[in-house]
């Protein structure tokens, strides 16, 4: 019975968006409650659906409502329910639920409290639709709406110039990817004549799509995914997006929206698997982003930015594993990372909530005694992400490394391990600087956050610890890897040992640098490789580059076109031509001299013309 209710969650979330948007101004609290309630319902529904799904071994259900029908081309709302979408549904509903509960107290007293929650339910509706829908156009539909939700939430405090700029940046950057995505989708449509995902796969498997089209379109689709999940050239928007409220960062920029890109690639994997070059490209981008973002995460001083960069780098990791067609491991890491990163963001949020918006970690320190729950949960999250052995983060990362090792061999594995080392390093750095060391004196009166905020923290922390149970086999459930990809998970002892050693080394290193405060290492680094340090600290000047391109090239060109339209097309093309007629008039009127002889002469002239033409004709 649960499965047939799959269409309920997006609908009720949408309805709640409309309701709350209408009442947001009048009764903010009610709107928040409505929104939380709907998302709670969706989560419960998810549990029903999951149980049904496990018991009945069907792998996808469909049911349809028409959206647009033009003769033979019909676009229909349908649902494609398989292990992948079920998993994503669970993640989204869970995190969204927790974040919204958290937000109730975090956003208390904000002027647009109600609006905040209505946008949240809009976002939830869109995101759930993205993972459930069975049809590329409507996937794009919801995909864009997700972008809208993120735009509205980032720009939530639109009075802040930075916030509105960041919102704009996020929308436009992802939009660039979306343009590519749309073109890719339409290309597939052009050669298959349908948008329905499963039938597209079917056609593709029977070679219904030519090689080039397949490569190009998958490449374009991957560009779209890169835009949403902030892969290398498009990564710039994510750190700026931290201008939004922190719970938003936890929800959108850790767990759900940025995961949409990964989800998209995973969903389209049957197509990607037919386009080897694109897969290599995916691997390359993923690996590069993994390391590249890691380096930046090490030097940032803004806690949220550190988390943002770590998100980027972990997304890179997932992309890499997808590049090796390791869907299961990627998705598993997606979940684990989503949970842990949400936890971290919420923790950061509760820090900021207590320290009235302070985000610079250099001003923190020794907070573990002041706000224990936050601290412990935060530490759990970071340790899990850093990949210390018993925690789930370790296993997920290990799964991916295993895939990389099997498919890509040692050559890819080594840089991947380096990236893993980096990630452990910056996680520990963050934790140590924030919670250990000496307490800054102006933080003396800081206290623990209210229960509504700590509760989600604790839940998430528990999940972050015990998530790895999913990998085990419990009665019918043959482990998550099998659940997704249909073949058993297996372990590689050597790799486990090596990577755990690696992360322990990172732990020791971080300990020496930031707790024992043996500055010399950093000083050496900062003195010897100053250029390098500045380079990284300025985010490799990529934002500046983009700014330059936008301002100096695109806007200039636009202004040129506008001017051209004025001066050439209008003033010369239009006005001159009309003026020339006036000018002609000014010349012709001189015939009328006012002297009667002239008149007589012109009459004679005309008469002669008449007679001559007649005689000649």
């Amino acid at each position: 019975m649960g499965i047939n209710l799959t269409y309920i969650p997006p609908i009720i979330c949408g309805v709640s968006f409309v309701l709350t948007a209408l009442f947001a101004r009048k009764v903010p609290l009610a709107s928040s409650l409505i929104s939380v309630f709907t998302i709670l319902c969706s989560f419960i529904l998810f549990i029903f659906i999951l149980t049904d799904f496990l018991s009945s071994d069907l792998n996808s259900i469909k049911f349809s409502i028409d959206w647009i029908v033009v003769s033979d081309m019909r676009i229909t709302w349908g649902i494609l329910l398989d292990s992948l979408s079920v998993t994503m549904l669970g993640l989204i509903t869970l995190v969204a639920l927790l974040v919204q509960i958290y937000s109730i107290s975090y956003m208390k007293g904000d002027s647009r409290f109600g609006w905040y929650f209505s946008v949240h339910s809009l976002f939830a509706a869109a995101m759930i639709t993205v993972v459930l829908v069975d049809n590329l156009i409507l996937l794009y539909f919801a995909w864009e709406l997700v972008g809208l939700g993120s735009y509205l939430l980032i720009g939530f405090w639109y009075e802040k110039r930075a916030a509105s700029e960041a919102a704009k940046k996020a929308f436009i950057t992802t939009r660039i990817g979306d343009v590519a995505l749309l073109i890719g989708i339409i290309l597939i449509f052009k050669s298959t004549g349908t948008f329905d995902i499963s039938s597209i796969f079917h056609i593709a498997r029977n070679g219904g799509i030519s090689e080039n089209i397949l490569t190009i379109s998958t490449f374009l689709i991957f560009l779209g995914a890169m835009g949403k999940s902030a892969q290398f050239p498009f990564h710039v928007w994510l750190p700026d997006a931290m201008e939004g409220p922190t719970p938003v960062s936890a929800l959108i920029h850790a767990a759900t929206m940025v995961a949409a890109g990964v989800y998209l690639v995973a969903r389209m994997m049957p197509l990607f698997s037919l386009a080897p070059y694109v897969l290599d490209f995916v691997v390359f981008i993923g690996l590069f982003t993994f390391i590249f973002a890691g380096t930046m995460a090490i030097v940032m001083h803004d806690i949220k930015r550190v988390l943002a960069y770590s998100t980027i780098s972990h997304l890179g990791l997932m992309m890499m594993s997808l590049g090796f067609m390791g869907v299961a491991s990627a998705i598993f890491h997606l979940i684990v990372h989503g949970i842990s990163k949400a936890l971290l963001f919420l923790g950061a949020g509760s820090l900021m909530h207590e320290m009235d918006g302070e985000t610079d970690i250099r001003k923190m320190g020794g907070l573990i005694n002041k706000m224990p729950i936050t601290a412990i949960t935060f530490i759990i999250g970071s340790v899990s992400l850093a990949g210390i052995i018993p925690l789930s983060g370790f296993f997920s990362k290990d799964e991916i490394l295993l895939t990389v090792f099997e498919k890509g061999g040692i050559l890819i594995l080594l840089p991947a391990l380096a990236g893993a080392f980096l990630s452990s390093l910056y996680m520990f750095r963050l934790t140590f600087i924030t919670f250990f060391g000496s307490l800054k004196n102006d933080n003396s009166k800081v206290g623990e956050s209210p229960i509504l905020m700590t509760l989600p923290l604790i839940l998430l922390a528990l999940l972050a610890i015990f998530m790895s149970i999913l990998l085990l086999e419990i009665s019918t459930f043959k482990g998550f890897i099998y659940f997704i990809s249909g073949h058993k998970a297996h372990l590689n002892l050597l790799l486990i040992v090596f990577s755990s050693i690696l992360s322990f080394v990172a732990l020791i290193l971080a300990w020496f640098i930031y707790i024992k405060d043996s500055k010399y290492l950093i000083d050496w680094y900062k003195s010897k490789m100053k250029w390098n340090y500045n380079l990284i600290l300025n985010k490799y000047y990529i934002d500046e580059l983009y700014q330059y391109i936008i301002n100096q090239i695109i806007i200039r060109f636009a202004q040129f076109v506008a001017l051209f339209d004025r001066l050439v097309v209008n003033d010369i093309g239009v006005d001159r031509s009309s003026l020339s007629i006036r000018f002609l008039g000014l010349r012709l009127k001189l015939i009328q001299t006012g002297k009667m002889h002239g008149y007589a002469i012109s009459m004679l002239f005309g008469f002669l013309i008449l007679i001559l033409t007649w005689a000649i004709l």
């Binding site: 028409d66 929308f171 939009r175 749309l182 695109i554 209008n570």
Partner: protein, 518 residues
């Protein structure tokens, strides 16, 4: 009810004229009475247009609700000469949509022009004359009357813009309203010159002595040779293209938009520019199918230029209304591309884009007009943080903007996606090029709209630069109008099925007629 059903089409033309006469006989000092008469009449017309939408029977399709009145007979010379010039009214799926659009824009336009104090009587008389002309074009199936109503809708624009308009004289470049009015009128009439020649040519070539489109359509195949069709379709294409803001004949439209008062730019951008594309469909593609078939690539290229060129020009503007004006140039480009794709998808999308862009741009100009009314400037370098001051108007503007950048769930997306599909499917690999350019154009639209929104609406208003003593939000009427439009945009975006069916029923025969040449 039956009586209404028979004469409903002539009602659409008569009601505005009746309204004009009613207002003409009301003494000018009863300002509010005039406005309420206008409101009521326009509301009734709106209802009528909805009724037409309901009464049209999609399943049977074709031209329905026929109505005719023998006007002037051309004795002797021709087989059908005794019927001669007859006022044939009728609607197919396309006209129904356009009539509906006109009704909406007319109604909301009256509400938007509530704050006109100066000679409001004359204003509404001219406004109703204009709309009578527009309705007439959409419902008439006789080339003479098509042309007559087309010309009828030109003249009022001149006075409306010239008198009630506003000159734009700041940083961008100064354009007086008289200049804009004169340019607009001359451009439209210049277009009508070509159209007129083509109409006479068709009339003569058909040799029926009748201007009735349906009659002439029967003899197209054996009377019109290919080169004749090409020449005349070229003239029709350029002539109506001028009205549709086709590059490079578009310059009248931004100036016109900017100078016109709010409601007039709503009608102008919302409906009048659609007359152009409609004319290309109704006369060009119906009567000159082979010519259309062979000249469509040109139209496609021009439309593509429109899209990109318009988008970049809009990006370069600093005047709020100019941005909107150029954006409508670029959106009409989509319409042209859709027509030129000669695919059912693209064609349907083009007509749907005409509808959606009509509503959207009406909303745009509603918002911009209100902003200009209360801020006394449209300069984007000065305006800031309007969201704080006039939330409703800002919401309207943002929704219109999101529609124009093709956000799903709003009407723009449904239309543009169809156009993209059509364009991609047409012309083989070239179609991919054009389609990609079109999609990129949508991307550029996103850039300028979002820049505008974050610059003008977000942020905190700085008090010193713009006078804040009267930062009044939308009036009651503007709000109603805006809410109606927003509701339509949402409905048309979320559940386009009824409209799409209506359009498809009208588009299919014309398209098969055009493709019949192949």
């Amino acid at each position: 009810m039956d009586l209404i059903k028979e004469n409903i089409l002539i009602l659409t033309i008569l009601l505005p004229l009746i309204g004009a006469t009613l207002i003409f006989i009301t003494p000018g000092y009863l300002d509010n009475l005039v406005k309420y008469i206008a409101l009521i009449i326009s509301f009734v017309t709106f209802i009528i247009s909805i009724l037409i939408f309901i009464l049209y029977d999609i399943n049977s399709g074709g031209v329905q609700l026929l109505w005719d009145w023998e006007w002037l007979s051309l004795k002797g010379a021709w087989p059908l000469g005794d019927k001669g010039i007859t006022l044939n009214l009728g609607v197919d799926g396309i006209s129904v949509m356009m009539v509906l659009l006109t009704g909406i824009v007319m109604f909301t336009g009256v509400m938007a022009s509530w704050n006109i104090q100066n000679r409001s009587k004359d204003f509404f008389i001219l406004y109703f004359l204009l709309l009578a002309g527009v309705f007439g074009v959409f419902v008439s199936y006789d080339m003479f009357f098509f042309f007559l109503f087309y010309e009828l809708s030109v003249m009022p624009m001149f006075l409306l813009i010239g008198y009630w308009g506003s000159s734009s004289d700041f940083r961008t470049f100064s354009r007086t309203k008289e200049y804009a009015a004169m340019k607009l009128t001359l451009f439209l009439v210049a277009g009508s010159v070509l159209i007129w020649i083509a109409i006479i040519a068709i009339f003569v070539q058909a040799g029926l002595g009748s201007f009735n489109i349906l009659e002439i359509q029967k003899v197209v195949d054996d009377k019109f040779p290919l080169n004749f069709q090409q020449i005349n379709f070229f003239m029709i294409m350029i002539g109506f293209g001028i009205l549709a803001g086709m590059w490079p004949f578009h310059t009248w439209s931004p100036d016109g938009h900017v100078s016109a008062p709010t409601s007039v730019s709503m009608v102008h951008a919302g409906v009048l520019m659609k007359l152009g594309a409609f004319g290309i469909i109704r006369i060009g593609m119906t009567l000159l199918p082979e010519g259309a078939n062979s000249l469509m690539p040109l139209l496609m290229i021009l439309g593509c230029i429109n899209v990109i060129y318009g988008a970049f020009s809009a990006l370069g503007q600093t005047d709020l209304k100019y941005v909107v004006g150029y954006s409508s140039v670029s959106h009409m480009g989509y319409v042209l591309m859709g027509l030129a794709s000669m695919e059912l998808l693209g064609f349907t999308g083009a007509v749907y884009q005409m509808f959606s862009h009509g509503i959207m741009t009406a909303l745009f100009f509603l918002a911009v007009g209100a902003i200009y009314h209360s801020m006394h400037t449209r300069d984007t370098l000065i305006l800031k943080g309007i969201f704080k001051k006039m939330p409703y108007i800002s919401v309207f503007f943002v929704i219109a903007g999101l529609t124009s950048l093709g956000l799903p769930g709003l009407s723009g997306f449904a239309a543009e996606i169809l156009i993209f599909l059509g364009v991609f499917k047409s012309y083989g690999s070239l179609g991919i090029l054009f389609g990609s350019l079109a999609v990129i154009g949508a991307g550029i639209t996103a850039i300028y709209i979002l820049r505008l929104v974050s610059k003008v609406f977000f942020g905190v208003p700085d008090e010193n630069k713009q006078n804040t003593n009267n930062n009044l939000d939308a009036t009651r009427f503007e709000n109603t109008a805006g809410i109606i439009l927003v509701g339509l945009i949402l409905f048309a975006g979320l559940y386009p099925l009824p409209f799409i069916d209506m359009i498809t029923s009208g588009v299919t025969p014309i398209l098969s007629n055009v493709l019949g040449g192949l």
